[in-house]
């Protein structure tokens, strides 16, 4: 992994909403515009653009083509699209920037889950021969994972509630959050009924619509555009085998591997933004990253934005983790942060981005 001098200099996101009235591209246009404005650049200075979205959420093949409007593709631009969370679009744009012929790149992610039934859509992501016919939806799968975690003795239901209570409280300070509660308590949460045992409804993410955009720049351009850029020290993503039955679903080996490949050496972090879509996954990810004790001691801030439990616009939610971490470096409240995005059932694929101030 070569060292890079690429930083985040601008970003924007929409507030997560259960059902946003505007179309996906209508949500995207102001987000992209705001990210570009925040970076203080002219749109024409962008040398490469990459978008991330999922046709199936909109329910129409080629749905992503409409999003080109948000990229402002006239005159023609160098542009690509990943069928993945915007975090992977950012990865491609970050990679493209390393060639040195361009100085600024834009990435964005967008998704509206509200027009469809996410449980039906994501059940179609599973192996079509062996798993999809079972009709396993993400919540049922997460229930299996939660049960495995409890059975392993690594966590208790109170630990799950603790993750949620902290998410709700921290989300109270996040204007983009969908679910927040400054007075959330573990005891009140544990009094709720099971939804998919051992998960309660609050252990699961909300259904959200939302968009996110990020502007990256190289070296001196980044320093010129931003007083305190969030430097991307490393970025990597890894995938595991698909079948949950052949994985240890109580840990995330691909997250640990991606973190190592991204250059994370186990040193101190100020904060971590994890794409823990279900509460037990936060515990799994922290342990896999070797951060459980730092999180427990309070020396590490975990999901200060509230995380995906506070707002889960699929295809944007991973990139939102990265910009939430970057925002705290840019504003000076943090100096070293790790952000994470995920894809596939039960943390099958994971991306890690290591960010630092200068």
């Amino acid at each position: 992994m070569p060292a890079t001098d690429i930083a985040i200099v601008g970003f924007a996101q929409t507030k997560s909403e259960r059902a946003a009235t505007p179309s996906e591209v209508q949500l995207l246009v102001p987000t992209v515009t705001a990210a570009i404005a925040r970076a203080g650049i002219d749109r024409r200075e962008i040398g490469f653009t990459c978008a991330g979205s999922c046709d199936y959420l909109t329910g129409g093949p080629f749905a992503f083509v409409s999003n080109l409007e948000a990229a402002g593709a006239w005159p023609p631009i160098s542009e690509s699209h990943v069928e993945a969370d915007g975090a992977w679009a950012m990865y491609e744009a970050w990679m493209r920037l390393q060639e040195g012929d361009i100085d600024i790149a834009l990435a964005f992610g967008s998704g509206k889950s509200s027009p469809s039934n996410p449980s039906e859509v994501w059940a179609q992501q599973l192996d079509p021969y062996y798993l999809a016919p079972l009709g396993l939806d993400p919540v049922s799968l997460a229930g299996i994972q939660a049960r495995a975690l409890l059975d392993s003795g690594k966590a208790t239901e109170r630990d799950f509630a603790s993750v949620v209570a902290r998410s709700r409280r921290q989300a109270a300070g996040n204007p983009n959050a969908q679910l927040a509660d400054a007075s959330a308590s573990e005891d009140a949460l544990l009094a709720e009924p099971y939804f998919r045992a051992p998960l309660r409804k609050h252990d699961c993410p909300p259904i959200s619509d939302g968009t996110v955009a990020v502007v990256m720049a190289r070296g001196d351009t980044a320093r010129r555009l931003c007083d305190r850029p969030a430097w991307i020290r490393g970025m990597d993503h890894r995938v595991e085998a698909h079948q949950p039955g052949v994985r240890d679903i109580t840990s995330s080996s691909s997250t640990a591997l991606a973190a190592r490949k991204a250059g994370y050496d186990g040193g101190p972090l100020d904060l971590v933004e994890l794409c823990s879509t279900f509460s037990p996954q936060e515990l799994i990810l922290l342990e896999s990253l070797g951060l459980s004790s730092a999180a427990a001691s309070g020396s590490l801030s975990v999901n200060p934005s509230g995380g995906p439990l506070a707002g889960n616009p699929i295809m944007a939610v991973g990139l939102i983790r990265i910009i939430e971490a970057a925002a705290r470096i840019i504003d000076g409240s943090a100096n070293r942060a790790l952000a994470h995005a995920t894809s596939g059932p039960l943390l099958q694929q994971n991306l890690v981005c290591l960010l630092e101030g200068e």
Partner: protein
């Protein structure tokens, strides 16, 4: 930092057919991947990262199918990146794979693109998932008519392209439609689908996959076979529909071509490029792209077809593989252009080899002709 050189050292294709009921989706991909690894004299353990491309997921009815294919494509514990840029996706996937190598992030990368169209209804998918759609042919037909009108081309030019490509396909063991005996009359007398496109001037719907192995200079030196070196690569997109757009010669296509020519030091593409694999799903797109990428001047593209210049034995062969007109597993089609261009400059194209091909142009387009991915490949490494 200095960039790495990037070469294609392995190419693998499935046999393309209307239905590949003999294999699962995973089996289809492995057929192409295993051939590419054999060609590169490597095993899956030598691959550092996998880039995968296909057109809309609705074609097969699986959301982000690379997720379930992760093991089958050998991506376990590696990076797996899914590209989707409409019909150009196979080309874009190859370009994204090359960037992995050029940046030095990874040494050897597998890029694979596929479609198993028999799993679903491609015409429904191409109509954006709406019933009663006009299909891809219906969308492109008015622009082909406009080309004919503007260029003064005779009507038989489209038939000639179809005859050439189907006869070329008969020399390509992996092609879907092989018609060694097709004549102008066969094409002329076939039913009109979308005026000016007749049945025999339209691409088929195929199942298949294509894989390439991309590597750096050190990787290329380890192989005993010739490599195809990237001298230029580019992707360009423009909005699909707005007043003032020229859909017959889209500006993104012009700029994408000029970008790769500039990178490769090409000032006269017609004389400095030996052959081209262009994305021609409907016959008229051959002269349209010859002009659209400034290989021929305005109104001159059809004359290169008419005088046999684009024939396999001509001075500027186009689609010696038989092209998209003969084989169209949509997600794979763009990558097949790059793979076939690589085979040509490596001198490994077999019966459809262009004599002395040293510089090849690969092109893929998609959407409403608003997505482009192009590459220039040569038999020798860049300076």
């Amino acid at each position: 930092m200095s960039n790495e050189k990037c070469a294609i050292i392995g190419v693998g294709q499935t046999h393309f057919k209307k239905r590949r009921d003999d294999v699962s989706i995973a089996g289809l991909l492995r057929e192409a991947i295993d051939r590419a690894l054999d060609d590169a004299e490597l095993s899956i353990r030598d691959i550092d990262a996998v880039v995968i491309g296909k057109a809309p997921d609705a074609f097969e009815g699986i959301v982000m199918p690379e997720i379930f294919l992760a093991d089958a494509v050998g991506a376990t514990n590696k990076p797996l990146l899914r590209v989707h840029t409409a019909g150009s996706v196979g080309g874009s996937t190859c370009v994204v794979g090359a960037h992995h190598v050029i940046t030095g992030i990874h040494g050897t990368v597998l890029a694979v693109a596929w479609e198993k169209q028999s799993e679903g209804n491609a015409q429904w998918g191409l109509a954006g998932g709406r019933s009663g759609g006009i299909g891809a042919g219906g969308a492109f037909a008015p622009w082909m008519r406009a080309y004919i009108e503007q260029s003064g081309s005779p009507d038989y030019i489209g038939w000639m392209v179809a005859v050439k490509d189907r006869r070329n396909a008969a020399k390509n063991p992996y092609a879907h439609l092989k018609m060694p005996d097709i004549t102008l009359e066969t094409v002329r007398d076939s039913p009109m689908l979308w005026d000016p496109i007749r049945f025999q001037e339209s691409c088929p719907s195929s199942d298949g996959a294509c894989a390439v192995i991309l590597t750096n200079e050190a990787g290329a030196q380890r192989s005993s076979k010739p490599a195809a070196w990237f001298h230029g690569l580019s992707v360009k997109s423009e909005l699909s529909n707005f007043p003032g757009r020229n859909p017959v010669k889209p500006q993104a296509g012009v700029e994408c071509a000029h970008d790769v020519y500039r990178q490769a030091g090409i000032t006269d593409p017609r004389s400095q490029i030996d052959m081209a694999e262009l994305y021609v799903p409907f016959s008229w797109y051959e002269p349209m792209w010859l002009e659209g990428h400034d290989i021929a001047g305005p109104g001159e593209g059809w004359k290169m077809v008419d005088d046999g210049t684009t024939d396999l034995g001509g001075d500027f062969p186009v689609n010696p593989s038989g092209g998209v007109l003969s084989t169209n597993a949509i997600g794979a089609s763009g990558m097949v252009r790059f793979a076939e261009a690589a085979l040509q400059v490596r001198g490994l194209a077999g019966e459809h080899q262009v004599e002395g091909a040293r510089t090849a142009l690969a092109q893929a387009y998609g959407g409403a002709a608003n997505y482009f991915a192009m590459g220039v490949l040569r038999s020798s490494a860049p300076e």
